[in-house]
């Protein structure tokens, strides 16, 4: 991309404000600290310089932690990310930033006697959340178990979905359990992942250093890594995204299920729930006494996975 049609260039003028000068000073200071390690050159080499120009590459390099950006910084970052996403994917992409809703704590329940193992939720999730199609990242794993067993080590992860349901088997979909006490968050050395007020554990893809310690810490195998540069066919891109959820990711960072917060924070339901042909899934605000999820929690014999680990999942299973 040439410099002319690169709006970031024009913003970076010195007389802009005091803030920007202080910023510049801070940037120079940081740059000085690490220049020795050659880190700057690595980024420039690693990010797509050809598409964004040097200024974009530097802005990306110095982009602050999500929780530390001011409103303007956030807007600028989002504008740049949207621009870059368009260049990369050839499609206008909107990156939203809806905050958590007041008085909402999201919870999910799944009726295992209804689940028949069609894996429609998996497909819908991939379509909704812009996962890399090359390495087939999937947030939901459906296990096929013997009817009488709960031993995951005997589960079939790769059963044939065309012929389900198989007799004598049950199906067990597992995704991020949105732990109230998430070990992944404690593990992260740079606070790139945290729990939002609505109980959803999110990742700042621009802050994650890709150490994968959180993946080792998660007891539900919910965290997936971008081993390569994500690629998604243009027509498959979902342009309605959220900064902390399904916006396009880059290589070398972690990602995970967010209960579709780009949808649920706007009052919609998660894509996996809508796609489920058997109606096995129930989603809602567990703080709302009139919600369906509360009905399930109060009236069904619910249980949670690996409760002995004290992770306090907000994902319940039950059967009729």
């Amino acid at each position: 991309m040439s410099e002319k049609n690169n709006p970031a260039k024009t913003v970076e003028t010195p007389e802009n404000s005091d803030v920007s000068r202080r910023e510049l000073f801070k940037k120079t200071a940081i740059a000085g600290t690490i220049a020795a390690a050659g880190a700057v050159s690595t980024t420039i080499a690693a990010s797509n310089v050809e598409s964004g120009g040097l200024s974009d590459a530097l802005d990306e390099f110095f982009q602050k932690h999500y929780q530390e950006m001011s409103k303007e910084e956030m807007q600028k970052a989002i504008a740049r990310l949207e621009r870059k996403a368009k260049e990369k994917h050839g499609k206008e992409i909107h990156i939203g930033n809806t905050p958590p809703l007041e008085g909402v704590l999201f919870g999910y329940a799944l009726n295992i006697s209804k689940c028949k193992g069609y894996r429609k939720c998996v497909d819908a999730c991939v379509a909704e959340n812009n996962q890399n199609r090359d390495t087939t990242i999937q947030y939901i794993r459906v296990l096929e178990l013997e009817n009488e067993s709960m031993n995951f080590e005997e589960a079939d992860h790769y059963y044939d979905r065309e012929t389900v349901p198989h007799t004598g088997k049950k199906y067990f979909p597992i995704q991020c359990q949105q732990c109230e006490n998430p070990p992944c968050v404690t593990a992260c050395p740079v606070e790139a992942t945290w729990k939002e007020a609505d109980g959803i554990t999110v990742i700042d893809y621009n802050w994650c250093i890709g150490c994968r310690y959180c993946a080792a810490a998660c007891p539900y195998w919910a965290r997936k890594f971008n081993w390569s540069e994500p690629s998604i066919p243009e027509e498959k891109i979902n342009p309605e995204t959220h900064y902390l959820s399904n916006r396009p990711r880059m290589r070398g960072v972690m990602e995970k299920c967010t209960f579709c917060l780009q949808r649920t924070r706007k009052g919609k339901l998660p894509a996996c729930l809508e796609a489920c042909p058997t109606g096995a899934r129930v989603f809602g605000n567990i703080l709302d006494p009139k919600s369906e999820i509360r009905y399930v929690l109060e009236n069904k014999k619910v249980f949670r996975l690996k409760e002995e680990l004290n992770t306090e999942p907000k994902f319940w299973y039950y059967s009729d």
């Binding site: 995951f152 080590e153 992260c188 050395p189 740079v190 802050w207 195998w221 890594f225």
Partner: protein, 399 residues
Amino acid sequence: MEFIRFCFDGVKEIFRGGKLYWSWMGVLAVVALFGASAYLQQLQQGLVVTGMSDQVSWGIYIASFTSLVGIAAAAIMLIIPAYIFHDMDIKEIVIPAEGLAIAACVMSMMFVLIDLGRPDRMWHLLPYIGRFNFPKSMLAWDVLVLNVYLFLTMIISVYLLFSKYKGKEPKFSIYFPLVILSIFSALSIHTVTAFLFSSNVARSFWHTGLLAPRFIASAFSAGPAFFLLTALVMRYTKVFPVKEIAIKRLTTIITIALEINLFLLLAEVFTEFYHQTEHSASAAYLFFGLGGKTALVPWIWSSVFLNISALVIFVLPLKKNTIFLALACLFLVVGVWIEKGMGLVVPGFIPTPLGEVYEYTPTFIEVQISMGVWAIGLMLYTILAKISIAVNLERIRLT
């Protein structure tokens, strides 16, 4: 002023050397370049070029990191007798051992760096500037203690060397507190690295209180063994006349630590296998394979074989023979490298928390990059050992 001369003389020493020295460094440099080119490829394409996956998300990089943290303890087991108990025979080999500690520390940090998906964002780890998740994250702790240990070791070695260079006795009031601090930080790098694994409730294979003592025991055997191996080479090549008594001391240290390590390992294996639960699946996979998948079985049994052979040599008079002694050290280093690396890091991921048995084999690129790191580390060790020997033999000193 004197210090500048000292540095200058030190640097000059690096460029002085015979054919053997230059060919050794030359070979290492070639391997390092070979590794660097592979790393470049990894930077361009991402970590897909490795054998790692979402199932096994850490491989030989973290495995090497873990065992190198062990090697970094080498110096401590020499410093304690030399500077706390004033064992004169050990004193002269302390500084080359410190050189090994520095090199091992640097290597282990490099292994963490090459494992990162976004090495360009390293600065996020800097306190105040980035967001260092301290004291919650064990990885943050590890970064901290490794840096502290590296820093202390460097200070101590420079101070001791500089005193020797000036022909003065090091001052007790200066080195003693430093030495005490460095002993604690040496213990802490193992403990924290062990906690890095054992704090994970998700991985029952790692989730055991024995992990930290095992780390310390294996470090106190493999670290000095690695050093002893190089000391034997130094003696053989007549680079430095390491005294017989110093070698004996080292052998004793190694033997005791090795025995403790094997005992702890045995205790762990017993608990895993006496009544096999769902939690013993990783151990079962490691030692015997699971569901017909057996990638780690040859690794762990070679480690067992190497460790036991080393032990046999160390307890028998066989160890008086230099060749056997060197062999035992080599066995021990490799044995512990496997036990702490492929035998500990990788099986923690297999089966996954959802019970899937998915195997891991390092790719050629991964091996290439790791070899590059080793080459750089060995170059660093060679240089540091060379300078310290030159000072010790008073080939360079303040005139």
